[in-house]
Symmetry: C2
Subunit: 306 residues, 2 copies
């Protein structure tokens, strides 16, 4: 095998009570990449379609992640990468992570899988440092592993993968506004009340338990964010209205995807997910802001060859 | 049935990362109670063996919990309660909770089970208000339900029961010193760093996941407390030494039981749990403080008729 075409799925990080630790992977929405072995060693980004991103390897998240992998293994050849972006940069559904995860997954396949998917997460995290300044795994882990992932610890990295309940779907609205991740980090307070923290970890425990037992009601009751959403929600137009209408239309819960501006709702079954999407559309059409809506099953497989 | 004899198990609350939300139930260690129907309405505590506790119904946690149950249902008769205490008051393994849970469980049985075990938790919590000033459920819930319990929310009460992995044992050392719950509450800080809180809920997520999948290593890695143990550990003699020796002898993890002074270790298999108990004994004999050691399987059943 000298070349591979792959699908790099979008992801939702944080998931309300799971701030900085939880993420999940989406079907249908994602980028594509073609990766080819080349005689010339090293990594070259040869083509980017659908986004205005740097071709220089060291300035591109896919390039940086790929270089991290190559630094860990001897190879006689190099790789050329073509990136076909569908996930919009800054949408809050893991655009940079899809590129970083896709690059390391594809190269690993072409090398005969010397690394496990979990091992690839560390390489992909190097791309995240370039994208956001910090080595977080809450998008690259679900992109590489599928299902839900809990980052129990970052140093050393300890990732717990949790299979998704089979009827779980996500509806996502992406308002096309720019929210800088750095600004959204800056609104967080370094100290939080112990009382709020206890409520948050009670909910996280409930969410993890609900995922393990396919208890959709418990998942819904647990999808609450005491700490981050009250600070960030106000920067997303119509956030509260979208969240309310999602729940009124049957969503289990709703919150900010990553650091926004996308808003997610988790739903049981595709009919509810579509109904929620239509209701979100009606609310958001009242604004003059462009938006996309995605309705997707939770993706158990993660990044894959197509 | 006009009388019933019951076993009211000891419990461990908090469990490191699960502060204020998690608890588990123990086999072997517990109180006994005899409850009898009486022609005279109301509740009378007729006998207490093994502890110096008030016989007045309104001043006794079992009495208060029983009255809470009776206020929710019409009965033509009353109940007499005999309490045989084995769990020492102030030990940190749910002494008051065992009495409160036992009283409501026994009366509910004699009434033909009008309430579910989960419904009984609310009544038993009234006993906890008398004992500690707050209506917490992290000991009464595991005592009534067995296994592990997560209090996702207190108002309204939302309890998630999680089955224990089958090979899980607890070793507990109870140093016979007095630590006032109110003092142990006072050392807590009302604000905590967001960074510590994230580590704490990452660990709680890992622990819940490990319990669901019987992943003993994950349970062990997750049994860490970023927030409470650093403040409370110093009040328990030889706490760090006991914890270290427990882990060196194979315990999955170790921490403060409830608000102390008991220290628990979770272990895989009885041999390890006993080895840990022996090692704790050697360390603690160097002090002049009296102590008890308990080695128990996690109790899946909770309070029961004997």
């Amino acid at each position: 095998m000298t070349s591979i075409k792959i699908f790099c799925p979008a992801t939702i990080a944080n998931l309300s009570c799971g701030f900085d630790v939880l993420g999940t992977c989406l079907e249908n929405v994602g980028d594509e990449m073609i990766i080819r072995k080349s005689e010339q060693k090293g990594i070259r980004i040869t083509k980017i379609v659908g986004a205005n991103l740097p071709l220089e390897t060291e300035k591109n998240v896919a390039g940086v992640a790929a270089l991290a992998l190559l630094s860990a293994i001897e190879t006689e050849f190099g790789f050329e990468i073509e990136i076909y972006k569908n996930i919009k940069a800054g949408s809050g559904i893991g655009s940079s992570s899809a590129s970083a995860a896709g690059a390391v997954f594809g190269i690993n396949e072409l090398l005969g899988k010397p690394f496990s998917r979990k091992e690839l997460v560390e390489f992909a995290m190097q791309g995240e440092i370039l994208a956001s300044g910090s080595a977080h795994a809450d998008n690259v882990a679900p992109c590489l592993l599928g299902g839900f992932t809990l980052i129990r610890n970052t140093n050393p990295l300890d990732i717990v993968r949790i299979e998704s309940p089979s009827e779980l779907f996500a509806t996502i609205i992406h308002p096309k506004i720019e929210l800088k991740t750095s600004d959204m980090r800056a609104v967080l307070t370094p100290m939080v009340s112990l009382k709020s923290a206890i409520i948050q970890w009670g909910n996280l425990g409930g969410l993890i338990s609900g995922l393990h037992t396919s208890d959709y009601d418990l998942i819904g009751r647990s999808l609450q964010d005491e700490i981050v959403e009250p600070l960030r929600g106000k920067f997303i137009p119509n956030f509260n209205e979208i969240k309310t209408i999602a729940i009124e239309n049957g969503a289990l819960g709703s919150g900010i995807s990553g650091s926004g501006p996308s808003i997610f709702a988790l739903c049981r079954g595709i009919e509810t997910a579509e109904k929620v999407g239509n209701a979100m559309k009606i609310v958001f059409k009242k604004t003059n802001i462009e938006f996309d809506i995605h309705v997707c099953k939770i993706n158990s497989e993660g990044v894959k060859t197509i």
